[in-house]
């Protein structure tokens, strides 16, 4: 029997990108661009990624190590302001267990020729499957992958 528990946490990550807001936005809005950085570790192999980037649209991305578990991201877009803001909620699953639900706000502002980027994640972590610290660290890693993809021209 599952022991139900909840843990609420918020983290904010701010960083600068050398690319202009329109390019950073495109890395979130265009599936081919997003596929270049929104991925698990290389050893997981290709993941299954689909996205309907509009208000009310959904995104799913699943993948994982060969021997499991399957990591699945399921998102819903609530607000999109071109080149400025994206608000979405997402669930994370490990196999069939919903381990968290999060509300994410991405804010982009011009800074010189680049972008001042901020993500705020407000989350409820469910039933002790993971921790806020792991999620923040994982998100920092993904945002570094975005930086690399932008350098490559994504």
């Amino acid at each position: 029997m599952t022991q139900h528990s909840t843990q609420h946490a918020t983290f904010v990550i701010e960083r600068d990108y050398d690319a202009a807001p329109a390019r950073v936005f495109r890395a979130f809005a265009d599936l081919d661009a997003k596929r270049q950085w929104f991925t698990g570790p290389a050893e997981w192999g290709p993941d299954e990624h689909a996205m309907d980037f509009r208000i009310g649209g959904r995104e799913t991305n699943s993948g994982g190590p060969k021997d499991g578990p399957v990591h699945r991201f399921e998102a819903l877009y609530w607000d999109i302001v071109e080149n400025q803001r994206i608000v979405y909620t997402y669930e994370m699953y490990l196999d069939d267990a919903r381990i968290s639900v999060s509300l994410s706000t991405i804010e982009l502002k011009p800074k010189g020729k680049g972008t001042a980027f901020r993500i705020t994640e407000q989350a409820v972590h469910l039933d002790g499957h993971d921790s806020p610290e792991q999620r923040e660290e994982g998100t920092r890693g993904i945002l570094e992958q975005l930086a690399d993809a932008l350098k490559r021209g994504a």
Partner: protein
């Protein structure tokens, strides 16, 4: 079309607690049952309800459209993420005033037995309040009223 509005997002978390003199299953039913929900959550004095849909299951939606004295139309749209009977409800919801999105929030409601027959309810809202169009303090006051109404609903008044 170029959007020239100044954009902002204020992030806030607030927690409200209540002790109700009935069992968690009874409190849960007031969230899950459409008729009970209409009494304490949907209908409010001075507000006209123009649309309402309620599908209480994981992945289900709730949509309500309310107008106040013909001044503004508010639209609330929710998506249920997690439902554990008599124990936990997690949902996300947004509020619009006319065409403007004013907030998106994530809500967790936890019900636990308290004493021999009662329930402790813990309500947590994690919200993004957008473009200065709404205030977390007003939202918190609104939910405080709603949880009092829920108390009258389950307490039988």
């Amino acid at each position: 079309m170029t959007d020239t509005r100044e954009r902002s997002a204020a992030h806030t978390t607030f927690t409200l607690e209540r002790d109700y003199p009935v069992a968690p299953a009874r409190v849960f039913a007031a969230f899950a049952d459409s008729q009970a929900r209409h009494r304490w959550f949907v209908h409010e004095e001075g507000w006209k309800l123009t649309e309402y849909d309620f599908d209480f299951r994981v992945g289900g939606r709730e949509t309500g459209r309310f107008s106040q004295k013909g001044i503004a139309v508010y639209t609330q749209e929710a998506l249920y993420y997690d439902i554990q009977p008599a124990n936990r409800i997690v949902f996300a919801y947004s509020m619009k005033r006319d065409a403007d999105l004013i907030s998106t929030s994530l809500v967790t409601i936890v019900l636990q037995p308290a004493g021999a027959t009662g329930t402790k309810l813990v309500f947590t809202e994690q919200g993004a309040f957008l473009d200065g169009l709404d205030q977390a303090s007003e939202r918190e006051a609104g939910w405080n009223d709603l949880l009092d109404r829920l108390g009258r609903e389950v307490g039988g008044g």
